[in-house]
Symmetry: C2
Subunit: 205 residues, 2 copies
Amino acid sequence: MNQQYPSILLEKAVGEFSKLPGVGRKTAMRLVLHLLRQDTAAVEAFGNAVITLKHEVKYCKVCHNISDTETCRICANPLRDVSTICVVESIRDVMAVEATQQYKGLYHVLGGVISPMDGIGPSDLQIDSLVERVKAGGVKEVILALSSTMEGDTTNFYISRKLNGMDVTLSVIARGISIGDELEYTDEVTLGRSIVNRTLFVGTV
Amino acid sequence: MNQQYPSILLEKAVGEFSKLPGVGRKTAMRLVLHLLRQDTAAVEAFGNAVITLKHEVKYCKVCHNISDTETCRICANPLRDVSTICVVESIRDVMAVEATQQYKGLYHVLGGVISPMDGIGPSDLQIDSLVERVKAGGVKEVILALSSTMEGDTTNFYISRKLNGMDVTLSVIARGISIGDELEYTDEVTLGRSIVNRTLFVGTV
């Protein structure tokens, strides 16, 4: 549709929204017109929320997780186990692991994985600071919780080389069939790994 | 997923985004993190675009279309045919009709259709001002281009009653099978109407 915008301001706002990932011109138009129907205070709250976030957000100086303070809530929590570090790609992964309520250690947010195709090398990621944390001592285990992709595996390998010779246990989160999944629909690589890495049956799975 | 946000500012921004239609918490998070990766100027441009739009946008005093000026570009254009008014529900419908490049008259944006279920009555819509425009004279034809729904039909009927007795032709846009559609997949109401309202074959369809 050859869109002739009735207002330059409208066109500008639609243009900004359509820069968002997965948002096309039509969706952008729908979202902007929705906002336009809200009262001024609501629109200001919307616009200022992202501006304030961008201006004031901090990244934890220890784990690089997003934070309102110098050190994030997790790193500052005295109840967390400081001897375990879970290495993840992004803030969303921290939230995903936290949601499981199964982990009481600390995190280290890499900011991505090594991906030469996207021009992301080890120096673009928070790998050096991870090595520094381990070198500083007190860390017994580093859990690698990256995506099960070639890039994730490459990054795991790179980190393992970097931590080589240090007195720390390196582990990887378990790969296997998802809870509730049926065997016949599981791909053979995953199924194969789940047989190789089988665990002792202890009543519950 | 029980989401524990690492930052109150982040939670606030995600909250604002998830108020948008069709945007859930996960999508909101993705959009906010995307913006966070942009530079400050880009985030400010985004936030301010909607705030400026809300503050400065005007609605055309003639047709109620969105506009940067008192009278919109279409109403102010001397080349448009002022004797024809196309009645539509929304700004998006104006843009849709304009995109066809088949219409050279003016518009009248109602701001919706009569829908008692949603609490929208005739007084919530720009129907009185339409009647005033016709009363003022110079209008030869009013084209009703509302949705082909019960609400649209009700509104068409209401407007026709309001314009009753005035010296103006009232027409409705053609309903029929869409260009490129196959007969066997067309619903019978549409197909029936397209037979009743058949037009003379003049070489091209």
